[in-house]
């Protein structure tokens, strides 16, 4: 893990993009930002512009009108970056899989790192998903590609979260 990724994971700023969702997932994402769930304790902030963001949070089944826009947003994002797909629609288009307007799932348009299923997923699930991403990337740093014992991994995981706090 380079210094860029390390700095990114210290305080991942998220950019929230709705690609034609019913807004239920968007409400849950907003819920995460409220004091009750408070993802700011992991250093996550909602960025106003994609050019300031480290994590792209995508909701909704990508509509035909939205597909070029998703690509454009992804291209504008500073790299390295991560993409989190939230909700059944963003994963496999859910109910809209046969829809004339949703030809492609999001992970065939841009690379997706974390999938959070649910319709909508609970805020706890969203937090768990993003933490899994952070832990996955942090693991690479400490284990350095070699196999670590489950106990050591667990230890690393806890340390990762503690560090982030």
């Amino acid at each position: 893990m380079g210094i860029k990724t390390r700095a990114l994971l210290k305080s991942p700023w998220i950019f929230h993009m709705s690609t034609g969702s019913c807004n239920n997932c968007d409400i849950e994402v907003l819920d995460c930002l409220t004091p009750r769930f408070d993802i700011e304790r992991f250093g996550m902030l909602l960025a106003g512009s994609i050019k300031h963001a480290d994590v792209l949070v995508v909701t909704g089944a990508a509509t035909r009108q939205c597909i070029p826009k998703i690509k454009r947003v992804y291209e504008q994002m500073p790299k390295p970056c991560f993409v989190v797909a939230i909700g059944e629609c963003a994963l496999s288009r859910g109910l809209y899989i046969q829809s004339y307007n949703c030809p492609t799932p999001i992970d065939k348009i841009i690379p997706v790192d974390v999938y959070i299923p649910g319709c909508p997923p609970k805020p706890e699930a969203i937090i768990a998903g993003i933490l899994k991403l952070i832990n996955k990337v942090s693991d690479h740093r400490v284990t350095d590609g070699s196999e670590a014992s489950p106990a050591a991994r667990n230890e690393v995981r806890t340390r990762g979260i503690m560090e982030l706090r």
């Binding site: 035909r64 009108q65 496999s92 899989i97 004339y100 030809p103 492609t104 799932p105 065939k108």
Partner: protein, 157 residues
């Protein structure tokens, strides 16, 4: 004017054009009308009776196409729907944009989704479909077939 007087007025005034008058419930009335009489009836309901134009809905019933124009009488707590039946081989109807501006976008949407032509519409462009959508493909018709060879229709699991 109470509910019964309003309905009687419509019935009396357009006796020749009303094909069917269905009072499904106290709040819901369906009036099937002749397509040529749409503009005078809609003008009467909208301008003289003071109803609000809610929305129009287009249907493909396999045998024919239908457009329902829904009008709300707020003081009477009633919705009146004007039903126009269009044969499959002649999908054309007069636009209501000249009577109320609110019909503009919904007519554009019905036009792109079902392929019904609205004569006299000022600007019958696409409303929701993307620019690269092929001409002559109407997604909400019953006989719509997948046209995009690149579409992925499995969940990948």
């Amino acid at each position: 004017m109470n509910r019964q007087e309003t309905l009687n007025n419509i019935r009396e005034k357009f006796k020749g054009d009303i094909k069917n008058f269905l009072e499904r419930s106290p709040k819901r009335v369906y009036i099937e009308i002749d397509a040529n009489a749409l503009i005078p009836i809609a003008t009467y309901i909208f301008k003289d009776l003071g109803a609000r134009f809610n929305i129009a809905s287009g249907l493909d019933t396999r045998q024919h196409f239908e457009i329902l124009y829904h009008f709300t009488f707020e003081a009477l707590d009633m919705i009146v729907s004007l039903r126009v039946i269009l044969p499959r081989d002649k999908l054309e109807i007069a636009s209501l944009t000249c009577v109320f501006e609110g019909a503009n976008w919904i007519e554009r949407e019905i036009n792109e989704m079902l392929g019904i032509k609205f004569t006299g519409h000022p600007d019958l462009r696409r409303l929701l479909l993307p620019e690269d959508w092929p001409e002559g493909v109407y997604p909400l018709r019953r006989d719509y077939k997948e046209w995009d060879p690149n579409a992925i229709r499995d969940r990948g699991v």
